[in-house]
Amino acid sequence: MPEVPLQITGLGHQYGASTVLENVDLTIGNGEFVSLLGPSGCGKTTLLRSIAGLLTPTRGEIKLSGRSVCSDGQNHVETERRGVGLVFQEYALFPHMTVTDNVSFGLPTMDSQRVAEVLDCVGMSDFGERYPSELSGGQQQRVALARSLAPRPSLLLLDEPFANIDAILRDSLERELLRVVRQEGAAVLLVTHDQQSALSMSDRIMVLDEHSSGSSVLQEGTPAIIYQAPATESVATLTGECSIIDGVANGKSAETIVGVVPLATDKTGPVRIVVRPNSMRFKPTEGGDFQVADIRYTGATYRLYITGKNEQFETDLAGSEIPPTIGTKGVLEFCHPCWAI
């Protein structure tokens, strides 16, 4: 059985007296796409740079394809011998080299066939003789991806690769990235603070968050589990918009300030309930306890901002429907069970 591309055990790192990572464990299987999701400054990039060998973590061990590359604060294998692909947020293309030269840089010998193959794969076949300064941001990102894939790494590290790209282009690049890495069979670790990218691309998500003793893993699981069954309030807010309200659970429902809320699992006693915008809807009613405080049209939906009983909620309404006006009174109806923590 082949060794897994990446195995991290008990990884920790300190910058001086400040701990940024604490006891992180992570394993990525062959061809698996894992996202590391967390707010800015939580140590995601530190973890990525440790795997790439650009930083020596203070504690823990990193194994690449079964080979220990770093343990107990010692780097055993230099970056250049780790065989991992790395795509940077700022692309980091070599400005004085053409696209072809950039892509062939990591190949032991000039392999025109392989260069043509990866350029074709990212749709940049016609740009081989261009310089990075002659390409748009999206094209540069494609070249950066082709360059890191050219040496056929078993593990590809992506550091916020779409942070500098607009939303429409980002969506198409994400789909393209998934197609290319699946075609190449590389395992991927994506570092991002954008929950949308993480949810839509990953086989598995690991949520990292900062606390007083450094950042650690809050939850790990499939995108659906992470979104629908967050382990903590931090995970709930990091993975998408939600309101969190107090309640007293009694089996499959809970009594709350907004009424009875259906729960996804059996619970008893005091709970914190995660209410996603898609779990409820606003029903205009004369004399209702809630009212529309604001409305935002996003094209596909209207986002309604509802206030009442000292709480705030967000809920969506299909863009094709006629929205209520601001100030409309009404009640909240739950259409899906909510997750209780």
């Binding site: 650009l54 250049e80 980091a92 070599f94």
Partner: protein, 532 residues
């Protein structure tokens, strides 16, 4: 700044044309209308003059010296730039600042003190049993010591622009540290390395003080001797050859400046500095011994010892304050005049570059002035003044020299490029939206200029002025040839005069005061650089 105003371009072009054309036309005129030999009454042919002056040998010496200095300066300065931006150790900031200070030292003071200290009878020469320190090798070392800090600044700025991400990307693709350096870092430094080599080349080929003190027969020194000896025909031919020798450098500088702009990375992430290990530490110490030892410590100690010797022997000192005031007067006024000449070209070129156009001929012509050696420039201005005043009553030439007009024109031509560079950057960094928003608020042009534009320009303006001030304080050939008739006895004039009279105590005191002024202004500029 009005985006479509053509006035700065026209005024700037006229000013630069005056600075470039007057000395060159004066020189060409002196070559074409060479005076007859006072003994034979015949006008010597160019061939006779070239052979008589052994021009080709002098040219070879000048070029060889300049090339050795360029290579040495880039190696020493480049290494220190690497130490400054890629390493960290205790005292790092002070060591790298110290390495930059020799750029405040005038080459003739370094040469004179090094010759005195290292030769037999000197405080180091006696201790180590060294032979007489004159000739090409020591001249090259002196010029490397004073130009290496410039290379450190230029290459350091390029190193700062290199993004860590590119080097990390290369490493992640399997490149060894050496391959990362040669394939990724070095190509991004190439234009800076070329530019610093060019600056060192220009410095060495233009310098005359150090080579004169160290008895190195090169074009500039012989040219100065010919001017001093009133051998006008010989001086004109030597000047013509010197001009031809520097011309190719204009083309190279134009090409390098184009390259320099091409590889800038916006908001680069700096490379994390590494501790200095034993071998690099050894190389750093050797480099510092050359640059700081030769270029700063030996001169200051030697100048101090000359003064101490004069005091111990109760020798009379010339009142140095007269020279201090004369220096301040010449340098302050000269810096303002140079700033005025650089103002409109910088404004016009920045306006063009803001619109993504090349600076064009105006920018090229401004940089051309920096390649005119001081001796050649002074000769050209003197020849032009002679030509103009021959139609005026007798004594007009001496009168013109006495006004200081030629001296100020000489300083401006010599240093307009140095002042232009930071000024252009200052104009370029003006945000036109600030002026536009002030206009929408109904503010008048004068108030906008005073309250919005000038405060934004002020730091760049101050740096440009201090650079001009510092350069004029140290300047020698233009001061000697064009300043003598003004009655100004600047510190550089005094050092040269007293040194050649072997009045070491006076030369030492004037030298120490000059170095203090120059070091003060350099430290001021460097502190602004750190805060920028």
């Amino acid at each position: 700044m009005e985006p479509n105003s053509r006035t700065p371009g026209i005024v700037g072009t006229l000013g630069i044309a005056l600075l470039v054309l007057v000395p060159i036309l004066g020189l060409i005129n002196a070559i074409v209308n060479r005076p007859a030999d006072p003994f034979s009454g015949e006008t010597p042919s160019l061939e006779q003059l070239i052979q008589g002056a052994r021009v080709w040998k002098l040219l070879l010496h000048s070029v060889l010296l300049a090339m050795v200095v360029a290579v040495g300066s880039v190696m020493a300065g480049g290494w220190m730039a690497w130490v400054e931006y890629r390493t960290r150790f205790k005292g790092h900031r002070w060591v790298t600042l110290l390495a930059l200070l020799p750029m405040a030292m005038p080459s003739y003071i370094v040469a004179a003190s090094v010759r005195s200290a290292l030769s037999p009878g000197g405080w180091i020469g006696d201790a180590l049993g060294l032979p007489q320190m004159t000739g090409g090798i020591i001249a090259a070392l002196v010029l490397i010591a004073v130009t290496a800090p410039l290379s450190q600044l230029i290459i350091g700025a390029a190193l700062q622009r290199c993004s860590a991400a590119e080097e990390e990307a290369a490493r992640s693709l399997g490149a060894s540290p050496w391959r990362v350096f040669t394939s990724i870092t070095m190509p991004q430094l190439r234009s800076a390395v070329g530019f610093s080599a060019l600056i060192a080349l220009l410095y060495a080929i233009s310098d005359f003080g150090a080579v004169a003190v160290l008895d190195m027969p090169v074009l500039t020194w012989r040219l100065y001797s010919a001017v001093e000896g009133q051998e006008v025909a010989k001086a004109a031919v030597l000047g013509g050859v010197l001009l031809l020798a520097t011309l190719p450098l204009f083309v190279i500088s134009r090409w390098i400046r184009g390259e320099f702009k091409a590889h800038n990375v916006a908001n680069p992430r700096p490379v994390v500095p590494q501790p200095l290990t034993s071998l690099p530490l050894g190389i750093s110490v050797a480099t510092l011994m050359l640059t700081v030892g030769l270029g700063l410590i030996i001169p200051i100690v030697t100048l101090g010892s000359w003064v101490a010797d004069g005091l111990s022997r109760n020798l009379a000192f010339v009142n140095p304050m007269v020279s201090v005031w004369d220096t301040l007067f010449a340098a302050i006024l000269g810096a303002f005049v140079t700033l005025a000449f650089a103002w409109f070209p910088a404004w016009a070129v920045a306006s063009k570059q803001r619109n993504r156009k090349r600076g064009g001929l105006l920018e090229d012509a401004t940089y051309v002035t920096s390649a005119l050696p001081g001796v050649l420039l002074a000769l050209g201005l003197m020849a032009a003044a002679l030509q103009v005043t021959q139609f005026l009553p007798p004594g007009a030439y001496a009168g013109l020299l006495g006004t200081g007009l030629l001296l100020m024109l000489g300083y401006s031509t010599r240093f307009v490029a140095e002042v232009f560079a930071p000024l252009r950057v200052a104009f370029l960094s003006l945000d036109p939206r600030q002026d536009e928003s002030a206009r929408t608020l109904g503010v008048s042009a004068w108030i906008r200029w005073r309250k919005v534009t000038l405060p934004a320009l002020a730091p760049g303006l101050a740096v440009a002025w201090v650079i001009g001030f510092n350069a004029i304080v140290k300047e020698l050939p233009v001061t000697l040839l064009l300043g003598g008739a003004t009655g100004l006895r600047t510190l550089s004039f005094r050092v040269w005069d007293r040194y050649n009279e072997s009045l070491w105590h006076d030369a030492g005191l004037a030298g120490l005061l000059l170095v203090s002024l120059a070091l003060g202004s350099v430290l001021m500029t460097l502190s602004w650089r750190r805060h920028a």
